[in-house]
Subunit: 446 residues, 2 copies
Amino acid sequence: MLQPNIPETSQPRVVIVGGGFGGIMLAKTLRKAPVQVVLLDRNNYHLFQPLLYQVATAGLEPDSIAFPLRGIFKRQKNFHFRMAEVLSVNTAGNILDTNIGPIRYDHLILATGSNTNFFGNKQIEQHAIGMKSLIEAVQIRNYVLKQFEESLLMTDETAIRQKLNFVMVGGGPTGVELAGAFAELREYILPKDYPELPVHLMEVYLIEAGPKVLAAMSEQSSEKTVRGLRKLGVKVLINTAVKDYDGQVLTLGNGEQIRSQSLLWSAGVKGVPIAGIAQDALIPNGRILVNEFNQVKGHTNVYAIGDAAQLANDERYPKGYPMVAQVATQQGKNLGNNIRRQLKGETMTAFKYKDLGSMATIGRHRAVAEFLGLKLGGYFAWIVWMVVHLLNLMGFRNKMVVFINWAYRYLTFDRGTRIIIKRGAANIVKLRQTIDSPSDVALNQS
Amino acid sequence: MLQPNIPETSQPRVVIVGGGFGGIMLAKTLRKAPVQVVLLDRNNYHLFQPLLYQVATAGLEPDSIAFPLRGIFKRQKNFHFRMAEVLSVNTAGNILDTNIGPIRYDHLILATGSNTNFFGNKQIEQHAIGMKSLIEAVQIRNYVLKQFEESLLMTDETAIRQKLNFVMVGGGPTGVELAGAFAELREYILPKDYPELPVHLMEVYLIEAGPKVLAAMSEQSSEKTVRGLRKLGVKVLINTAVKDYDGQVLTLGNGEQIRSQSLLWSAGVKGVPIAGIAQDALIPNGRILVNEFNQVKGHTNVYAIGDAAQLANDERYPKGYPMVAQVATQQGKNLGNNIRRQLKGETMTAFKYKDLGSMATIGRHRAVAEFLGLKLGGYFAWIVWMVVHLLNLMGFRNKMVVFINWAYRYLTFDRGTRIIIKRGAANIVKLRQTIDSPSDVALNQS
């Protein structure tokens, strides 16, 4: 009964799967091109993932880091959005099969991003908590606050420790920033909100399998980060593998055990391949092999960009580009320009990555940032971190709301959004009855 | 295994059930009293219900109208909060039975508020959508946006109408404000977000069984409201009963039918009685009979305030006080002072309601307000409405975020929070495994 209802025009149709950094930039670059742009996403919003950890730790409201996709493109005449899930692609027939029906394409771009990678460890996958989507971040916030509430109802010290210990696995920016935020919750929020709670029973761990945290940054910044985290009371373990986790006890490579009901896994991501892409175009971590024009191996009108794409045309990145927003954005822009060139009969330009730098925040007044050959740390890096994130956040309203939250938190040492949103079983049952499409309304409770 | 862990002191213990307007004010009034204050709520936040309709219509983020209860009382030394559900009360033994274990009390105050009242119509109850909690409002937002998305995937006009028609039942402030907000969605958001959609197929209805909307206000304000709503394109039907609703088609008292998948019911509320309160203290709508000191019939140390309480000591309100925030707040304050007087051996003061006025907003630049004998309408009433709501909203951060949202919406005709938060099945399964208490984490998806 449902059908995509996308008008047929004489212009070639460019179908983009995924409204992340890459997909958005690509669609924008095609703004005035003589093509019809169709963007598909399972959500109706663009998510600013770099601040997801602040939603998970009650620092920002979920709505402030999400921007409605229709809003972004409301003035772009050649643009059509459909909320849909892609089921498979038929590259021979140039047809994309989705849950709202088949969609024909002339150019297809897979900008499907990545998901949490547990590297095949099923036991950990079953019990660890991932954080890639907005709803996952909200669930983590609910869960963490509930752990605090429940630890107040216990008397056994071991049980309380188990509830209050939080373990971050993976020393990338996400792990570092999460660990810093948890340490700040312990420092500023718990003593005020739970004066009766023995806060000293709470430990925050950051566990990294490799020899340093923030592997993409310099030795200097990495060491500064570890020092900063330790000053905040985070237990940083490097060269430490996580062997097993059953939801209650974590076993390290050396056999040591840590009691915790909360293992947040940010040790890796992987591509999310779509059925119909030839196996020989996929590498083991799910990324799709593309050439320097982001064309998928064996195709000229099927492309992949961002986290989904595996491109190794730069000797600095022999294993492919890092799975970060910068790469996705630049590939989106390059591909958009290449499609415009194709239409004019011009030759395409090979993708060339320009690393604008990287940064991570550790906590109040503490961050590290590297760009233009500079290595910054401390207060100034922290200001730079905030300015860069605010400027890159989409939409004036979101910028203002995030700014207000940060200013409030800075001045009061408080976090405004520590609410547990739950319940509502009554409505959800009703609301589901009238849903026609396979995907469904959420935020419910069972 | 869980237990309330509330310290035993020599001071009398005042247990308040419910962190709404009444419960909060009562706890604050007891700030310096020689008592131990225990507040119980199933949620960890206070909800500013008057703005709930703006969350449901994508005008405000849920977090901006919720304030963590622990945050409100962080400087009140005699205060203890526990997130808990009350199961029953044993008034003979002065014990409250909850899902975190039994809690002893010296004074018990039921400030449990109200829930949607379908007046026994099971068929309507099953299909209509209520809006009393934060999660319900978020669910409505998700649902409404999804109706818009899905109507784009249809070609049959009747099916599209069914998706785009929104029916508000109940002409009180909630129904009026919801209807106005839906009309504004149609006016400002739909044409921009869904240029392909035949917006003229969308209708907004406001149905009231009685002879006027805003029954608590003057004839003049009521008529002004109806004119304002009609100018916005809302179909206002008064003296019109809703006979039946099956989730797709609504049947009116006169046999006429309206096709709609969305019937929002705000035609009435009822008390939520707690097991253990004697039947002869309950009236049919679930409110608890209290005397002028808010003491529950047959008790001296069990009280009810706000929506939960039925008190008819004022000839202006022969059927009891209206179920509004003002009454709850004033009863909370009066009871707090009476408990203090009891402790000093003084006599208690009978509750006396001071109506500070009432107001409702119809849309941009349009509202009605009555206070101090004044009857305001139009632009000025709209400004008054906004100022009063902002001032009454708890917390500086919330005030700022709401203000930013309103200013943004006013200037851009846009609504920033129209995102559909869904999915996350992966995490929720894991997160539920470690939950010990019967209530559970939510915002999940099945």
